[in-house]
Structures are given as C-alpha cells and as structure tokens.
C-alpha cells in the first residue's frame, strides 16, 4: 500500500487483482476490435469461430471508402483540433489572469464558469440552434467549434489556473527583469513550464470535442456531420450493422486512444499536478 517494506514484491492477491484490472481495462475494447475484423457469422455461430483465416479488414476498407464517413472524419478532426487550439489560446490567457492577478470577483468568476458544467446540453440545443442560425453559423464547422469552445473553455480555464498557480512567481519576476512583456511571459515561460498540464488539458479538450454526440447531432447537418454522430447512425432503424458499428467505433476511438497513449506521460503528470491541488 505504501510500498515501504514490500517494495517490489506483489502479494498473490495483488497480482491477481492487477491482472483482472488489466483485463477489465482492455477486454471490452479488444472485443470491439474482434467484432470489426471477423465476419458477423463467425461471431454469431455457436461456438464462435475465431479461425485466423477469416480475419478480414473488408469492413475497414468499405468504411474508409465511404465518402460520407471520410467527410465525417475530416469534420471531426477539423472541429476538434480548432476547438482545442482556440480553447487553449483563450483559456490560457484567461487562466493566467485569474491565476496571477487577484481582483475582486476573480474567484466568483471561476465558480460561475464552473456552473456552466451543470447545465444539461439538452436545454441549450434549441436556443443554440436559433442563435447559430441567426448568425448564419448553423451547420458550419465554425458553429460547432464556437459551441464546443464555450462548453470546454470553463474546464480548460479551471485546469490551467491550477497549473499556472503552481509555477513559482519568481520565474515571472525573472522574466520581467529579462525584459518580457506579460504576453512574452505567458508564451515563453508560463506555458512551456506548465508543459504536462498544458498537454493534458489540450488532450482533454480535444477528447471532449471529439467525443461529443448530442450537440453535434442537433447542431449539424450533412455539411458538418461528425464521427460520433456517423458512428451512432450505424444502429439506425433500418441499418443496424454491428460489424460496421464496431469498425466505426474502433476508428472513432483510435485517434484519441493513440493520442492518449502517446501523450500518456504528460497526461498522467498533468492530472497528478492538477489533482494535488484539488
């Protein structure tokens, strides 16, 4: 538990638990992968037929050959990336101010932003639609980007504030004496320094934007159909296709998974730093 005595030796129970945990973590996703590479008959026969020779990527080929799927992928990528970039720029600027300048109401502002998290998206769908249509942004990528930005910014700010607060004030003083403006400090000192936190937050923003389903469903037409909406559509009234759904699921999850795994060091560290404060 605290690893003082039994530093490197796990008890049998612990070993079993770790193995179970690992299985628990990967198996569901692995099963979806299996579903996407075997013809459905193989998995619907009893017993299931896992002959390696039956493995086929045809479902991937056909999905990736489907223009609308590619468009959805592109939409999702553009929207999630732009949202992330905007969130990180606006968010770190605002978080920096909240972390470094104490002014009346800064705490209130931070709290008020968090209550945004409590709002169910359902109530906002129609008014948001009206709003976006009113300014000509309905069914445009920018419309979704702005919406996501508004939803994700408060969390980004919340996270970044805690990372920024952990940066020694003296570093900023040093930078000011070295001739940095506030913006320089943010760009050259604060952000590079909150590296893991920054990366973790960015990935968090990306995943949130990438994964959103409900708002995308309501606020998009064909032009901006996103991947989760497309993926969910594989179980329509007249079109449930488990293999395609599984394949789409894998494809939808894969970029985020890869991103998360590549940046795992930062994420774990970022979460750690943020949580220590919480």
């Amino acid at each position: 538990m605290d690893g003082i005595h039994k530093n490197h030796a796990l008890t049998v129970v612990q070993r079993v638990l770790v193995v179970l945990l690992v299985i628990y973590l990967i198996l569901p996703f692995a099963w979806m992968v299996v579903y996407s590479i075997y013809p459905s008959q193989n998995l619907r026969s009893t017993p299931m037929d896992f002959s390696l020779s039956d493995i086929t990527l045809s479902s991937y080929v056909s999905l990736l050959g489907d223009q609308s799927f590619i468009v959805a992928m592109r939409n999702s990528l553009i929207i999630a990336l732009s949202t992330t970039v905007i969130c990180m720029i606006l968010g770190s600027l605002c978080a920096y101010v909240l972390a470094r300048f104490r002014f009346k109401g800064s705490q209130t502002l931070l709290l008020a932003m968090m209550t945004v998290q409590a709002i169910p998206a359902i109530v906002l769908a129609v008014p948001l639609f009206v709003l976006l249509r009113g300014v000509g942004l309905f069914d445009t990528q920018l419309g979704l980007i702005l919406t996501y930005t508004a939803f994700i910014l408060p969390l980004v700010i919340w996270m970044m504030v805690s990372f920024f607060e952990s940066i020694p004030v003296n570093l900023e003083k040093a930078a000011r004496i070295d001739g940095c403006s506030r913006l320089d400090i943010l760009r050259k000192v604060v952000i590079p320094l909150s590296g893991p936190g920054f990366a973790a937050t960015a990935i968090f923003a990306f995943i949130t934007a990438w994964s959103d389903f409900f708002l995308a469903k309501v606020l998009t037409g064909t032009n901006t159909l996103t991947l989760p909406v497309k993926t969910a559509s594989f179980q329509g009234l007249f079109a449930m296709d488990y293999t395609s759904a599984a394949t789409a699921g894998v494809i939808t999850a894969l970029p985020v998974l890869i991103l998360a795994l590549v940046a795992q060091r930062w994420i774990v560290q970022g979460i750690t730093e943020g949580a220590v404060k919480g």
Binding site: D2, F29, M32, I119, A150, A260
Partner: protein, 302 residues
C-alpha cells in the same frame, strides 16, 4: 494621507488582464447567456409544440407540475440508483485501483497507461461496445456465461429492466472509473512517504494505515471525485442513448431525469416543461455539488 499611485506597470497590467481574459469570458457569455435566458423564459411557459394554441405563461407552474409528476419522480429514483452505484461504486473502485497501483511493481507504468483507454473511448463508442457484449442473441457475455455453465439460456440483458440498468451502470463505471483512479492515485502519491513511516512506527498495520492515514488525507480529492462523478452521472445521456437505441428503455428502466428531459423536449415536443426539467436538473447538480462540499470541504481549523 497616502497617495494611491498607479504606476505605469500597474496600469499596463490592468489593461493586459482585461484584454487577456475578455475573449474567453465573452465567448462563454455569448454562447450561454442567450440560451440560458431563453431556457429560463421557456420554462415559465406552457409550451407544447403540438398544441400551439395552448401556449401561455404559467410562471412556476411547470416546476409545480414537476413535483407531482410520477414520471419525473420515477426517473429521479432511477437516477438516484444509477448515481449511488456510479458515484459511490465508482469512487470506491477508483480508490481501490489507486491503492493497488501505488505499490511498485514491474508493469505498473503500463497499467497506469491502460487506465487512459476507457477515458479515450467516446461515449457513443462506449455504448456500441457494451451493446456488442451484452446483446441478448449474439453477445459474448452470454457466450461466456453459458460456457462456464452459469446460465443455460441466453440472458436478455438489454430487455430486462433491472439488468439493462445494471449494464448501463457497468458501462459508465468502465468508462469513468479509471480516470478517477488516476486522480486518486495522484492524490495518494502526494502524501509524504514519511507519514507512512511514522504510522508504521506508531504501530499501524497496512489496513489501519489505509483507513487512518491514506483516506483522511485524500478528503479533498475524494470530494472532487464525488462532485465530478455526481455531475457526470446526473447528466448521463450519450451512453443511454446509444445503449438503448435512443429510448431509455426497456420499460423506461434507463430513463434518468436527463433522459426524461430529452424525451420530453424532443420526443414529446413539450418544450416548456422540458426546459423546466432541465433547469431542475441543473439545480440538482449544483445542490449535490454543494452537498459534497459541505460534507467534505475543508472545515476551518480551530
């Protein structure tokens, strides 16, 4: 007596502060103020799109109706069940995982990395995934159970109300617990190791060290986890939508309050009532958060 001097630097700082925070604040305001006001006003109206003639201002009438609405109360009950399992179960499981992964062993890093897998799986995919597993005809869960002899007929997980809710809880736990576990782990690791050493010398065994040192020191984090998970659980939508084919079924077993608000607004087109429901949900989320803060927040040291 004192001249309050504002130096050039301070003035510049002030200007910077305003300029830097404005874009974010304005974006949030721009996209939330109108919809929120719209929603609040809407919630004061009787407005069913299918009954345009009956549209009228009812003040808090919708809210009053909520209090006596059996559907809402049942949904509230289901939400409570769902929350009890996902919040308490989730946080407890997260702490358990964190404690397990706090022990040094080979492969610990990779195990921690694997915690990110469920987090990275979008809710929609999560729903599909569990559907593949718990499908009543072809799901692998039944195959496995039948293979080990725990059942001889296929269990209709998603057709049996209680089981469907259980599957939903399970799916949600799978997705969110690992992330909570990472946070719990971070919190455990921030407890200085010497405190454990002190406890060992004081004669506390592993179990006592967990209950008397680890857990009390995680109070802040546990509170945070409870708040976050409560928020997620009360507002759960995507998983239900995908797992139940957009119905909240079977037999409304997975119709939580948020899903009911969705059905009311989008299926029944009873938008005024739906808005009132959504705002009630928002209030409930805030109340629950405040509840955790009051229960576990930092009490002033004497």
């Amino acid at each position: 007596m004192t001249r309050a001097r504002v130096s050039v630097g301070e003035r510049q700082d002030r200007r910077f502060a305003i300029a830097a925070s404005a874009p974010a604040v304005l974006t949030i305001c721009a996209l939330f103020i109108y919809p929120m006001v719209y929603a609040v006003v809407l919630s004061l109206y009787h407005l069913n799109d299918k009954l345009p003639a009956q549209t009228r201002f009812v003040g808090l009438g919708n809210y009053a109706q909520l209090l006596g609405d059996q559907d809402f109360i049942h949904a509230l009950g289901r939400t409570a069940t769902f929350c009890v399992f996902t919040v308490f179960g989730g946080v407890a499981l997260a702490i358990g995982i964190a404690v397990l992964l706090n022990v040094k062993f080979r492969g610990r890093t990779i195990t921690r990395v694997l915690l990110l897998v469920p987090w990275a799986v979008p809710p929609v995919v999560n729903g599909i995934m569990w559907k593949l597993i718990f499908d009543g005809s072809y799901g692998v869960a039944n195959e496995v159970l039948m293979a080990v002899g725990l059942t001889d007929t296929r269990i209709q997980w998603l057709a049996t109300p209680k089981l469907a809710l259980a599957v939903l809880i399970f799916a949600e736990l799978w997705k969110l617990t690992p992330f909570l576990a990472l946070m719990a782990l971070a919190s455990i690791q921030s407890i200085p190791s010497n405190v454990y050493r002190a406890a060992m010398i004081d004669g506390a065994n592993a179990w006592q060290r967990f209950w008397r040192v680890t857990l009390p020191n995680m109070r802040g984090t546990v509170m945070f986890l409870l708040i976050v998970q409560s928020m997620w659980s009360i507002k759960v939508f995507d998983s239900i939508y995908v797992l139940t084919g957009g119905t909240g079924g079977p037999a409304e077993a997975t119709t939580t309050i948020n899903f009911l608000a969705y059905l009311t607004t989008f299926s029944y087109l009873d938008r005024g009532y739906g808005a009132a429901m959504s705002i009630a949900i928002m209030v409930i989320v805030c109340l629950v958060a405040v509840f955790w803060v009051l229960l576990l927040g930092r009490r002033k040291d004497a």
